[in-house]
């Protein structure tokens, strides 16, 4: 049996061999400094650790281990949830060594966590995040990987750090009110990690500031839809959801369809290309047209056709939609007949009695004209269309025209009656 003393001796000897005494001594200013740090090590309460660390800092401000001391400060502040002091500490690390991985990393992580947004903290956070993003390969080089971390995990950590950098960069852009840049950054983030409720909500806010209500509502609804790990705290989740509803209602003029948007947003980080929500103006216009069709179907039908034909795709609408199908029943006022005696071309105003809009080409001429101002109803098929001046030619038969005046009695027949 090996005696305990022998085992201890072996262990101790190994320790002593591993650590060259001459190198140890240089770091400590004196034994008192070491004693102070040992107290920090033994202390369990982070508040008391902070007291001891401050004592160390006060007594040994220029300690050779001041960067390590700052890391101990960071850990203690983190335990007390004090992001503000953590950021200050990380900033101190960067001031001493601008490429400090710890300083760069924590300034990146914490910039958005600070309650009071100040230009100088934004500047620092931005610089740190960009340095982290640019230095990912170096900071996470295989040679830097701790032995107990698997290669795949190291890669994941690198990727996560890249996302944190993007998060901070987007945050700074947003706080500087560079909304398009922030939108781009957060979009790129979500393309890489679509499951982040936080970034979805941030993108939603940015889009809302840009007055892009529906994309904003989509992102906020998506953020609110997430549950479990990574979800927003419940009280905020509901605030975000309500904001999504309000943005949707403000744009659409009502909440109908909001649930469908939420369902779709929960399933996808971004709206599909064809996704559209009617604006309140469009809805009002549609309702107006529906009301007009109900109140005066012939006028309503004409105004709808007129609007399409007058629009930028008027010719396309004419060829693809209007021409292949019979027109609905329409009403017009005769402006003139051509030829005057037995007309087969009737010019009509439909929106107005004064302006020619439609020319009816009648399959067989009428035996007599109609007076200008006569109101007729007709059904036919569109034949040709000229946008400027507006003229729609419609092929009709006499049977499909209602309201054409009766033929005036001829003098001969009157004579016969007499």
């Amino acid at each position: 049996m090996i005696k305990p003393v022998a085992v201890f001796s072996l262990g101790l000897a190994a320790c002593l061999l591993a650590l060259p005494g001459s190198a140890w001594g240089r770091a400590w200013a004196d034994r008192n400094e070491y004693d102070l740090v040992l107290k920090v090590r033994v202390e369990a309460s982070p508040e008391k650790q902070l007291e001891l660390l401050n004592q160390w800092k006060k007594q040994y401000p220029e300690s050779e281990m001041r960067q390590q001391r700052r890391e101990l400060f960071l850990a203690a502040y983190q335990a007390t949830g004090d992001a503000s002091h953590m950021f200050e500490t990380a900033a101190e690390m960067l001031a001493e060594r601008p490429d400090s991985f710890v300083g760069v990393y924590w300034c990146t992580v914490l910039a958005p966590e600070l309650k009071n947004v100040k230009p100088e903290t934004l500047e620092l956070g931005d610089k740190a995040a960009r340095r982290l993003a640019a230095g990912l390969e170096a900071y996470f080089a295989p040679s830097q990987k701790p032995d107990d971390v698997a290669n795949a995990d190291w890669e994941k950590q690198k990727s996560a750090a890249g996302l944190l950098a993007r998060r901070a960069i987007g945050w700074v852009e947003w706080q500087r009110q560079d909304f398009p840049a922030a939108e781009k950054t957060f979009t790129e983030y979500l393309q890489q990690d679509p499951a982040s409720a936080e970034i979805a909500s941030w993108l939603g806010f940015v889009l809302a500031y840009e007055k892009k209500q529906i994309p904003a509502a989509w992102q906020l609804a998506r953020a609110a839809s997430m549950r479990g790990q990574g979800a927003l705290p419940e009280v905020w989740r509901r605030q975000v959801e309500e904001l999504a509803d309000r943005l949707y209602a403000a744009y659409h003029g009502g909440t109908d369809g909001a649930e469908a948007l939420k369902t779709a947003a929960a399933a996808s980080a971004f709206p599909p290309d064809a996704f559209q929500v009617e604006s309140a103006d469009t809805v009002r216009q549609r309702h107006a047209e529906e009301a007009l069709i109900q109140a005066d179907p012939e006028l309503g039908a004409w105004l709808r056709i007129f609007k399409q034909l007058s629009g930028p795709d008027g010719e396309k609408y004419f060829l693809e939609t209007l021409k292949p199908s019979p027109l609905p029943k329409l009403r017009g006022t005769v402006v003139r007949c051509n030829p005057l005696g037995k007309p087969d071309e009737i010019s009509l105003g439909l929106s107005s009695s004064a302006v020619e809009e439609v020319v009816l080409k009648v399959s067989a001429p009428f035996n007599h004209p109609a007076e200008p101002g006569t109101q007729i109803h007709f059904q036919g098929t569109a034949d040709t269309f000229v946008k400027e001046p507006f003229r729609l030619k419609v092929l009709v038969s006499q049977d499909s025209i209602e309201g054409w005046p009766q033929a005036p009695a001829s003098p001969a027949s009157r004579n016969q009656k007499r």
Partner: protein, 574 residues
């Protein structure tokens, strides 16, 4: 406990958020929330808002909350009496107060709104609500009591009555209680005159809303927020005698709770037990961490610490049995596993000495000289000096120079100096997300509030979804490209109609309007209907405008005065 392990613990302490595997309180949650603004002397701006906010937050956290605003002394006493009478032995009771508070002879009093400064301090006591009285009522009544006092605001009442503003540390807080003050004892807190709520209550309500936070974490986070927002001038303060964990809100999904968060909780427990030298309990917790397969630094820390704790447990057991050889061996093992466990070194040395193994003791004392503090090194030297006459190694050690202390990296092996704590940062972000309230409010102020959905029309009613005025507007919108007429009552008419409607005389006040014109194609829009010229409309008596509209713009108007029984005529042209 080596820092390597407890750094992991405290670095992640903010992430101690889990309900999984933890018993939740089995009783009801009752809250009494009081907010007093309306003081004659020194009215407050936000206390009632604070009470409302807290009432809402607590209700959302499952409390049956009673809100009392601007309470007189009698109202406060009555509300507290009713509150206490509802509490059962398995319940959780929460009392929240926002308003003025004073201390008299180290006793805390809450100030009712009807308080008037009396001639003497003694008399004042009887016009105030005693917090001690509340504590007494809570003693042994519910399972757990939480008392939150946001009552330390700048206080003219105290000055007026020659009392001391701010609250004192409570002397008789109940057992199983958690008492929170919005600021430290004897300090005053800001009412936040530029905001709607006090800094304290605003932050507290947000934290209460976060799932999976223990009450300690809620208060820690609140403290950090308030301290930051007040530039360190206000630091909320708490005193606890809770022995069980309390969550305002359980985790969102306890079943899939992050394994590492649970492991953190067990690591913290293990640390607490280790500090009390309750080795077996500490070992149990570490085994839970290992069995949970938490992964990452936590699991590694638990595995590395387990051997040390086992050695300490074995050493203590052997020592108590008088088996000093086994105790010494176990202490040596402990020191090998944690070379900075100075107390284990001394106890091991004593164990060796108790079995007359001086050389063994000297080796441990040497280890203490390498890693101990100046004080422990001196103590080791004294022992070595006493042994030098009987032990050559001891004599050699005494004459040897004090070894240089080890480098900081050896003291904190889990720190990985120079590399950030990646796991810890993820936990920090998960538990302290950025508060979106500011953006929600900013964006929300530009939007109209959501309207409740319209209730369906009763059967038999006009199915038209729009009132006639809207119909008219709708038609006008649709017809904006074409020339048309609109008939609109003037404001004067509407007023008349309303008054006459109230008098029930509408039917006898109808008149008519005839509109003529050469162009028969001109539409006339009135009350959602279209007519064409010539048009005849039946109208209530009053003034109207006949508006000619072209391209969506009113190009001309004619005013008509409709009188009962008298048809009016207007002529229009394009």
């Amino acid at each position: 406990m080596p820092f390597a392990a407890h750094r992991l613990v405290f670095a992640f302490a903010v992430a101690l958020a889990t309900a999984a595997g933890m018993p939740q309180e089995e009783g009801n949650r009752y809250a009494l929330v009081v907010g007093n603004n309306a003081y004659v002397a020194g009215p407050l701006q936000n206390a009632v808002n604070d009470a409302r906010l807290m009432d809402k937050a607590l209700k959302e956290a499952g409390f049956r909350s009673t809100l009392v605003e601007n309470a007189s002394l009698v109202a406060m006493q009555s509300a507290v009496g009713e509150f206490l009478s509802r509490l059962g032995p398995s319940d959780t009771a929460l009392f929240f107060y926002a308003g003025h508070g004073v201390q008299i002879e180290n006793e805390n009093f809450l100030v009712p709104v009807d308080f008037e400064a009396p001639a003497s301090v003694i008399a004042a006591k009887f016009r105030l609500f005693s917090a001690a009285q509340l504590f007494e009522g809570l003693r042994n009544r519910p399972k757990r009591s939480i008392v939150i006092l946001d009552a330390c605001r700048s206080n003219p009442i105290a000055r007026q009555a020659a009392l001391t503003a701010g609250l004192a540390q409570p002397q008789n807080s109940p057992n199983e209680s958690y008492v929170v003050f919005s600021t430290g004892p004897g300090q005053t807190a800001a009412d936040n005159p530029n905001g709607r709520n006090s800094y304290f209550t605003e932050a507290l309500a947000v934290e209460i809303g976060k799932p999976g936070l223990t009450i300690e974490e809620v208060v820690n986070h609140t403290r950090a927020t308030v301290s930051s927002e007040t530039s360190g001038n206000q630091t909320p303060w708490a005193i606890s005698s809770l022995t069980s964990t309390f969550f305002f809100r359980p985790s969102l999904n306890a079943a899939t709770e992050n394994a590492a968060s649970l492991a953190m909780k067990w690591m913290t427990d293990a640390k607490r037990f280790e500090q009390r030298e309750e080795w077996s309990e500490a070992i149990d917790r570490l085994n839970q961490v290992i069995q949970k397969k938490a992964g990452g630094n936590l699991q590694a820390a638990a595995e590395s610490r387990l051997g040390y704790l086992t050695a300490r447990r074995d050493a203590q057991a052997s020592f108590e049995k008088g088996d000093y050889a086994a105790a010494a061996a176990a202490y040596v093992n402990a020191v090998n596993l944690d070379p900075f466990a100075i107390d284990a070194g001394f106890e091991g040395a004593f164990s060796y000495l108790l079995q007359d193994d001086v050389d063994g003791a000297v080796l441990l004392l040497h280890a203490i000289r390498v890693r101990g503090t100046g004080e422990s090194t001196a103590k080791a030297m004294k022992i070595l000096a006493a042994l030098k006459d009987v032990s050559a190694p001891a004599a050699q050690e005494v004459s040897a120079e004090v070894p240089a202390p080890p480098p900081i990296e050896e003291m904190f092996p889990a720190m990985r100096f120079g590399a950030p704590d990646l796991e810890g940062s993820r936990r920090l972000l998960a538990t302290t997300p950025v508060d979106p309230a500011r953006f929600v409010n900013e964006i929300g102020t530009t939007l109209a509030p959501l309207q409740p959905p319209a209730s369906p029309a009763p059967s038999g009613a006009d199915p038209s979804p729009l009132p006639s005025g809207d119909q008219t507007a709708t038609l006008s919108a649709a017809m904006k490209e074409i020339f048309h007429l609109e008939i609109a009552p003037t404001a004067e008419t509407r007023d008349l109609v309303i008054r006459r409607a109230a008098a029930g005389t509408l039917d006898t006040n109808s008149g008519s309007l005839e509109i003529e014109g050469a162009d028969k194609q001109i539409p006339v829009v009135y009350q959602g209907r279209i007519q064409y010229l010539p048009a005849k409309l039946s109208l209530q008596a009053g003034k109207y405008e006949v508006r000619s509209v072209q391209d969506g713009k009113v190009v001309s108007t004619q005013e008509v005065n409709i009188q009962a029984g008298w048809p009016q005529k207007v002529s229009v042209k394009r």
